[in-house]
């Protein structure tokens, strides 16, 4: 995918889906996003990890859904009609949903607009962020999905 964008553009650019968690904005690399769906009935799975809210039916597939807020240790908020589930596919046949407060837009960021995440300032470990994107005046935290989805929970 990176190679393709290299071929298409002179600069190395990546598209991100920008989501809202509270006031903060996060970017998710669009190549991992399979789908974005509205909030729907989630079937609770007993005795599983706390941050997994359960499973949903996505066109005949059973997809586990996690709360981004719980995973990164933020308080839960009420669901609104802006709440969305982003279906991520890091691997084929293993989709997972992430509940976010809202989905804003898609931005294209060149390599020169992405800074390394300042590691010391965020004491959150493991770090869910692998870069900071600048889009005009706003800053977007770029999510490292492998860390978000992996087993490790914020202590």
């Amino acid at each position: 995918m990176d190679e393709i964008s290299l071929m298409n553009n002179e600069y190395d650019t990546t598209q991100y889906i920008v989501i809202n968690i509270g006031d903060e904005q996060y970017g998710i690399d669009i190549k991992y996003v399979d789908n974005i769906v509205r909030m729907q009935k989630i079937t609770r799975v007993p005795n599983c990890q706390e941050y997994f809210k359960g499973v949903i039916n996505l066109r005949g597939e059973v997809v586990p859904v996690m709360s981004f807020r719980m995973k990164v240790g933020l308080p839960e908020t009420e669901l609104t009609n802006k709440t969305r589930i982003i279906i991520i596919k890091l691997e084929p046949n293993a989709p997972v949903g992430i509940i976010v407060d809202a989905v804003r837009e898609v931005v294209t960021l060149g390599e020169n607009n992405v800074d390394e995440a300042a590691k010391s300032s965020t004491s959150n470990d493991p770090s869910y962020i692998n870069g900071i994107g600048k889009c005009g005046e706003t800053l977007i935290s770029l999510l490292d999905l492998n860390v978000v989805i992996s087993e490790k929970e914020k202590e």
Binding site: P46, V55, V62
Partner: protein
């Protein structure tokens, strides 16, 4: 010729032939005179040879050719079947199997010539045909009286040392030794083919010899041997004061040495040979002549083989006694998976129609309902047929076991017999493919740790021949495979002691644990890796692997044992993986599915029928005391208000164990499609075996009742 398109057929047929060879050899070992079997083996070997030749696999062809030769002789009554021969033949089969595997992976047969096996086969052939009167003649005896030329030709295979050309200084060394009344020996050492560090073994052999004498020359050169530049044998000239037997003994004492062939050489022979060698022309001719005489010896056999082959071909046509092969089409399993998925979709769509018709306007349109019912019966039949297509008998894996037990019996030096039943029990193809290894493991466990040695068995008043049983049968929606032995059983106390020693459990825990719970400790990963435990308790190597594999398939493993009488390991596997009949229930407002296969009955139990045993709730149902599981508790739900005076209890069973699951409401029976929860969600209690999508699009979880018992 592009043979790639035939590769698959070649592999399939090779598999079949190898299996039939293995089966027939087992029979042959017990009935060495069975002509049908010999003919069958000959035919299979012949077909294999032809196929390998067509596909251009020369090494495989060569090996099968030699095997065929042996059987050709047996068939002509010129040779007898000995257990030694059967061993060599089994080795041959293993080598062929290896070729097949290499071909499967790389489309190439690899570079292993299996020279040692070919030699072993030839040796059998030589021994068998050359001296049928003496069953196992020593090569020495056979050759000693023979004329020089005969000796040369007869030993073409094994006595490689004769090919060594001696140089002047080596001859001088030999002469010197002769003067000191030392004896001269020529010998060839064969290293086992499985040997990994050939050079190291050769070094040990050298060292052993040098303690008793001196090595004059070796072929390949010492340097080459050190660099591992030799196949599986090397030849030596040795001078020593010791008798040959002692030297041979010393060489054989090095491990991984297959065998040693050698004899004493008279100095005159060497000198004669050396004189002959001075003539340049003959020097070249000598080894060649040997090469030529070698095939010459086997010429009758080789000539007989094609003739037999030709004879066998029409014979094959004449004997339609073989069961008529079912008309089959080989289908890629992936295509079946696609078909299965489509059937699943169809069933979900049907379910949603059913729920639509039953909600609201039910009864309004009777012909609509009729059509729905019709659709239901069609989808159910369709599902069953697709399922059946995927089913294969477990025979495809069990056929390897008798051979394995035979090998184990020899290796462990214990007498044992394997009895199998229910090999025609069918399971989903994917399941069958997966259970081969676990079963093998369990059989090995039984043979190695379960059964006692013959002496011990006699001392305990048992039949010296141990028995291992492999039984498969269908039980409801499950298939049960049992591996049973009549060995010493599991010493529960020893397991407990070891578990406490290792800190797996505390002594206090040990006090309260039932013997069943203690035996279950054997399945813990930490337990099985410990070699010490397997020595004391006799069990536990790799059982955790067996367990995890079986559980990944949705099944479970259990053990029953009686000290001194043996143990039974049972594997319980679901018959189907994808679609099951289930009972839908409501617990705390949530819908759950329970597989119908594990449900025994559904009971309405009045609250005051609940009794307490060891502070656990039980009911007495028609004489059976059944523990009660309150589902809302295990599912982490709020307890329902206790204002009812009766409750609905779903009685589930696993084997002969029962449990009663308390539910709030019953919805009814439904065909459900099992979907995985995905790899990210971790259900700590394994209670939820999957999810399914209901007619209204809602997801319901499937409760694995086996885990609650």
């Amino acid at each position: 010729m592009d043979v790639n398109q035939y590769l698959e057929i070649f592999l399939d047929e090779t598999n079949e032939h190898l299996q039939s060879l293995s089966d027939q050899l087992m029979i042959l070992e017990n009935e060495p005179e069975n002509e049908d079997t010999i003919n069958e083996i000959f035919r299979a070997a012949h077909s294999l040879k032809g196929m390998a030749g067509t596909m251009g696999y020369k090494r495989m062809q060569a090996l099968t050719h030699d095997m065929e030769n042996v059987f050709s002789e047996i068939r002509n009554g010129k040779m007898k079947v000995t257990s030694q021969l059967v061993d060599v033949l089994f080795q041959t089969l293993d080598a062929l199997e290896e070729y097949k595997n290499t071909i499967q992976e790389t489309q190439d047969e690899g570079t292993n010539d299996n020279a040692a096996i070919i030699q072993a086969l030839q040796k059998c052939l030589d021994e068998g045909t050359g001296a049928p009167a003496e069953e196992k003649p020593k090569e020495k005896k056979e050759e000693a009286p023979a004329a020089a030329s005969d000796a040369d030709s007869g030993d073409g295979g094994d006595k490689k040392w004769k090919k060594i050309n001696l140089q002047e200084h080596e001859i001088n060394a030999i002469k010197e030794a002769e003067e000191k009344k030392m004896k001269i020996y020529g010998c060839t050492v064969f290293v086992q083919e499985s040997c990994i560090l050939k050079a190291a073994r050769a070094f040990l052999v050298f060292k052993a010899i040098e303690e008793m004498g001196e090595i004059i020359i070796s072929d390949p050169s010492t340097q080459d041997i050190e660099d591992e530049k030799f196949d599986f044998d090397f030849s030596l000239y040795i001078v020593s004061a010791e008798p040959y037997e002692k030297i041979a003994e010393a060489i054989k004492s090095v491990s991984e040495i297959d065998r040693v062939v050698g004899e004493k050489i008279e100095i005159e022979d060497i000198l004669e040979g050396a004189q002959a060698e001075t003539k340049a022309a003959e020097e070249e001719a000598a080894p060649q002549a040997q090469e030529e005489t070698k095939p010459a010896v086997h010429e009758p056999a080789a000539a007989a083989a094609p003739a037999q082959g030709a004879g066998a071909a029409p014979a094959k046509k004449q004997t339609p006694g073989k069961p008529v092969v079912n008309r089959t089409v080989r289908v890629d399993i992936e295509k079946l998976d696609v078909l299965m998925n489509l059937v699943s979709e169809l069933i979900i769509a049907k379910n949603s129609l059913v729920s639509y018709s039953s909600g609201g306007q039910a009864g309004n349109n009777s012909s609509f309902n009729e059509q729905i019912e019709y659709l239901e019966s069609v989808t159910t039949n369709l599902h069953e047929s697709v399922m059946k297509v995927r089913m294969v008998p477990i025979e495809s894996i069990t056929t390897k076991f008798p051979r394995m037990i035979r090998d184990l019996s020899k290796k462990l030096n214990k007498k044992m017999e394997l009895y199998m039943s229910g090999e025609d029990t069918e399971l989903d193809r994917t399941v069958v493919d997966e259970i081969g290894d676990p079963l093998m493991h369990m059989l090995r466990n039984s043979a190695d740790h379960g059964l006692e040695s013959a002496e011990e068995r006699i001392a305990n008043g048992k039949d010296p021949v141990g028995s291992i049983f492999l039984d498969a049968y269908q039980d409801g929606n499950n298939v049960v495979i049992e591996v049973k032995d009549d060995g010493k059983g599991i010493d529960v106390e020893a397991v407990k002691r070891k578990a406490i020693e290792r800190g797996t459990i505390t002594p206090e825990q040990g006090e309260t644990m039932s013997s069943k719970e203690i035996i279950d400790l054997l399945f813990l990963p930490s337990f099985s890796t410990a070699k010490v435990v397997s020595d004391v308790s006799g069990r536990g190597v790799g059982l955790d692997v067996v367990k995890s594999k079986i559980e990944a398939l949705g099944g479970d493993v259990s053990v029953k044992t009686k000290l001194g009488e043996g143990s039974t390991f049972s594997i319980r596997l679901p018959l189907t993986l994808a679609i099951i009949q289930a009972l839908m229930v409501i617990v705390g407002g949530e819908k759950y599915a329970i597989s119908l296969g594990s449900i025994d009955t559904i009971e309405d139990i009045s609250v005051d029928e609940i009794k307490y045993v060891e502070a656990k709730e039980v009911i007495n149902l028609r004489g059976n005391v059944i523990p009660i599981v309150r589902l809302h508790e295990v599912l982490g739900l709020e307890a329902p208000e206790e204002n009812r005076d009766s409750m609905i209890v779903v009685i589930v069973k696993k084997g002969d164990q029962y449990a009663g699951l308390v539910v709030d409401e019953l919805i009814g029976q439904q065909e459900i499609v099992i979907k995985s929860l995905g790899k990210y969600i971790n259900c700590t209690s394994r209670m939820i075996s999957g999810a399914t999508i209901l007619g209204d699009g809602e997801v319901a979880l499937i409760i694995d009742a086996n885990c609650l018992i």
